[in-house]
């Protein structure tokens, strides 16, 4: 079982890295890119036999307590 965790900056939190990437994209010549926000992506391998509800609650807690900082970031969990 694989859990995917996406951590992104909250709306309103300045993302200078995203801005720099956006500027670079424009200067290279890519068109129609309105904005870029940079985030983090984690792949978490879970024990094969783990109950899916337990897996979800564990990964949600891990994402909230460790992988993201709730002051500045949101997260989203996908389990497949």
């Amino acid at each position: 079982m694989l859990a995917k965790v996406f951590v992104t900056l909250k709306n309103g939190v300045l993302d200078p890295q995203g801005k720099a990437i956006h500027h670079a994209a424009e200067s290279i010549g890519y068109q129609g890119i309105a904005d870029v926000r940079q985030g983090k992506y984690f792949e978490i391998q879970l024990d094969a036999g783990l109950d899916e509800a337990l897996a979800r609650s564990q990964v949600e807690k891990f994402a909230h307590d460790v992988l993201s900082n709730p002051v500045i970031e949101d997260y989203r969990v996908e389990i497949s």
Partner: protein, 236 residues
């Protein structure tokens, strides 16, 4: 009185801090390895600068789970003095002992230079030996020092006089040009509502002897020593 300097894997200002406490202000000090949990023998704890755990994930995000941090939290709740410098400030924010977070610098650069900060409040155990609005020249050395918090928290910090240091120019004017990293309201250092936990991005330990170009940082360590003397007298 005894100071403790916490050593995380990747701390690199621990020895500078130890040196200033022991040799410049002449107070007893010991290192505390991050796995230690017994810190009752100390009167003040300093979380030094550096790159704890390589700054992996986020600055301070892994250090906050070190065993010593449980004890530091309890120590702070009991009124002990805790100061976090640079990476130490980031760890205190990640641990929730101080509000907000330190984001990547506005211009993305790692900044290593002398800047000026204005002492906004002298009614803390960390600034009691400073003059109100005194300008201190201190070095900064960080990639993530851009102080951020939500508007309600910012209001509370300002209303409660918990912004202790602000980036300013040499005359003490707080301007956008003198803000090196984009911090909200030029914030360089804040304290908790009980005023016994302080975090600041500049490095007072690197500017406590005139040989190093500035001794302005001494005032912070001297304030702590004065305050501890008073606290110990009251306890007796």
């Amino acid at each position: 009185m005894k100071f403790g300097v916490v050593v995380f894997p990747g701390s690199n200002c621990d020895h500078d801090t130890y040196h200033v406490v022991s040799k410049v202000i002449g107070q007893p000090v010991d290192f505390i390895w991050h796995k230690e949990e017994q810190i009752d023998r100390f009167d003040a704890i300093i979380l030094p600068g550096g790159f704890s755990y390589g700054d992996y994930l986020r600055s301070g995000a892994i250090a906050r789970f070190s065993p010593v941090m449980r004890s530091v939290r309890q120590f702070a709740e009991e009124g002990g003095l805790v100061m976090g410098i640079c990476n130490g400030f980031q760890i205190l924010c990640e641990a929730g002992l101080l509000p907000g977070a330190l984001l990547r610098n506005r211009d993305l650069r790692f900044i290593c230079e002398h800047i000026n900060i204005r002492v906004e409040r002298v009614d803390t155990p960390f600034t009691s030996a400073c003059e109100p609005r005194q300008v201190l020249s201190l070095p900064i050395a960080h990639g993530e020092g851009n102080y951020f918090c939500d508007p309600e928290t910012l209001d509370a910090l300002e209303r409660e006089g918990r912004v202790i240091f602000r980036y300013c120019d040499a005359e003490g004017s707080v301007t956008d040009e003198s803000n090196p990293n984009g911090s909200l309201n030029n914030i360089a250092g804040i304290c908790n509502s009980e005023r016994n936990v302080l975090g600041l991005m500049p490095h007072p330990e690197r500017a406590s002897e005139s040989l190093l170009g500035s001794s302005d940082g001494r005032a912070i360590f001297l304030s702590m020593a004065d305050s501890l003397r008073e606290m110990i007298k009251l306890r007796a």
